[in-house]
């Protein structure tokens, strides 16, 4: 059980950068990926903005065969494939294999199949034309569509799991992959998650009145975590993927090592003690963070940076309080904290994996990315933690340990601890 697990490859499809180099540049420079979506205006949504990747669908031809590409409609699957295969190549391995890779498995999450693509299916069936649906619908309608495409392309022969835990999906996938290697069942796991917020899912969030609606004319300023003017989140789409490996296994093949996963925890607040379907039970959140630290064998004081969940709703204040209580740190003593969502919005199931790629990049390149749109920090937050803990500009500094957490609908929590590899 004393195996060490390291990150050896990364891939990302983010609203502010497709591919790791573009994404790194974007997060260092505070580049927003939030855009105005004219169609959302036509649909009479209150919020008309989204974090949308500049993803050229035809590039998928570089990843899968023409036969597979023909008939591929699931946007979440396209994002997931690109991020996963980029991560695989980044870790120095070839796509092709004759034998299944028995030592490698996959935990990759998503929320739901592409509802917009499924709409065509529904229309056909209602028109009594089910016969014309063809063979490619089920594989993309099934929730395991993303993992099936990834695992099939790369020939994974170990456990292949599709996880789903709302906004905690991405960090949960990383944690599950970590635990699986830790227990010795696999040597390598491709982990991550994908999300495509189609108009139907978006519309339902819009109806919940949880989205930002006062910045439709200023897309890049609309996602404002921790600010006084935070008025809801901006839905985002994309995917993030990481290659996790048993350290010894990675060293044997001279893999480049980006960072180490020290440990983590996933739990639920049970929708009790203030927790509900949509709100987190703070006791559960604090336990999750504490358990993650214990699992990682680190003291709260060692944390250099928190990569928060921080969606830009009124839950931000409670989240900061939970971190402060869990770590026993406040005021000037609180670690630096940032929210990638200020740049890309809330990528739901993909949030945890894209934000974890950002966390690893901050460790590798020794910087803390800015919180954009935080000119007006919420005083209820700066009463608890120093304003200097909320960087507005990129800070170049030593970053050894990052705590990354996400909290999701259903009162589910997930927290992982990433470290510089030493």
């Amino acid at each position: 059980m004393n195996k060490r697990i390291v990150v050896t490859g990364m891939g990302v499809v983010s609203p502010n950068g497709v591919g790791v180099p573009a994404f790194l540049h974007a997060i260092q420079n505070g580049v927003s990926g939030v855009k105005f979506i004219p169609r959302y205006e036509d649909l009479n949504f209150s919020c008309r903005l989204a974090g949308m990747p500049d993803f050229n669908w035809d590039t998928l031809k570089n990843y899968v065969s023409d036969v597979t590409f023909h008939g591929l409609k699931g946007t979440n699957i396209g994002y997931g494939l690109a991020a996963a295969l980029d991560a695989w190549a980044d870790s120095g391995m070839s796509y092709e294999t004759e034998e299944p890779r028995w030592e490698t498995g996959c935990v990759f999450g998503n929320s739901t199949a592409d509802t917009e693509a499924m709409k065509n299916v529904i229309t056909r069936v209602d028109d009594k034309e089910a016969k014309k649906l063809g063979s490619r619908v089920i594989e993309q309608a099934m929730n395991s569509g993303v993992t099936s495409y990834i695992a099939g392309r790369l020939g994974f022969g170990n456990k292949v799991i599709t996880n789903s835990a709302a906004c905690a999906t991405g960090t949960q996938a990383i944690l599950m992959g970590y635990e699986y290697i830790k227990h010795g069942y696999a040597k390598r796991m491709l982990v991550g998650s994908a999300e495509h917020v189609d108009p139907y899912v978006y519309g339902a969030f819009d109806s919940m009145r949880v989205l930002s609606r006062k910045f439709n004319d200023r897309p890049e300023q609309a996602s404002r975590p921790m600010s006084l003017t935070a008025g809801g989140f901006i839905p985002g789409s994309g995917a993030g993927a990481l290659i996790l490996e048993d350290l010894d296994f990675a060293l044997q093949r001279n893999a480049r090592i980006y960072a180490e996963v020290l440990g983590g925890s996933a739990n639920s607040g049970g929708q009790r003690l203030g927790g509900t379907m949509t709100a987190a039970n703070s006791t559960g959140v604090i336990r999750c963070i504490n358990d993650a630290l214990t699992s990682s064998g680190i003291h709260p004081r060692q944390i250099d940076l928190i990569s928060g969940h921080l969606t830009a709703t009124n839950a931000d204040r409670q989240e900061i309080q939970n971190w402060s209580k869990a770590l026993g740190r406040s005021g000037d003593d609180f670690p630096l904290i940032n929210s990638l969502k200020s740049m890309i919005g809330h990528c739901l199931s993909a949030a945890g994996s894209i934000e974890s790629v950002a966390a690893v990049l901050q460790i590798v390149h020794q910087f803390v990315h800015p919180n954009i749109n935080l000119e007006d920090p919420n005083p209820e937050i700066t009463n608890m933690v120093s304003i200097y803990c909320l960087p507005l500009k990129m800070i170049k500094k030593e970053v050894n340990i990052v705590a990354k957490a996400n909290f999701g609908f259903g009162d589910v929590n997930s927290c992982i601890v990433l470290s510089k590899y030493k």
């Binding site: 065969s65 023409d66 036969v67 023909h70 008939g71 016969k131 014309k132 063809g134 063979s135 490619r136």
Partner: protein, 85 residues
């Protein structure tokens, strides 16, 4: 429509589903869809749907079962085209 004309048209129908594109130009009646053209058996359904749309015909289950190679595929299409007349 002659068999030759249908065969030429079928090359376009098969194209998106074969991983053996080089072989497409030299197909004949004996070319096996799965073995030679390396078409995934699940995709035969898609080929039938595409052919139905292209020739404005309906290929029932029993006729579909007869489609194994290029020759039987042309047989079925010709039979259905004649029924339409």
């Amino acid at each position: 429509m002659t068999r030759i004309e249908i065969l030429d048209e079928l090359k376009k129908v098969f194209a998106p589903y074969t991983t053996n594109k080089e072989m497409l130009n030299s197909i004949n009646d004996d070319t096996d869809l799965i073995r030679d053209l390396k078409i995934n058996s699940a995709n035969l359904v898609d080929i039938i749907i595409d052919a139905e749309a292209k020739y404005n015909i309906e290929i029932d289950y029993d006729s579909a079962d007869k489609i194994i190679n290029v020759g039987t595929c042309i047989d079925v299409i010709m039979e259905k085209l004649n029924q339409n007349k």
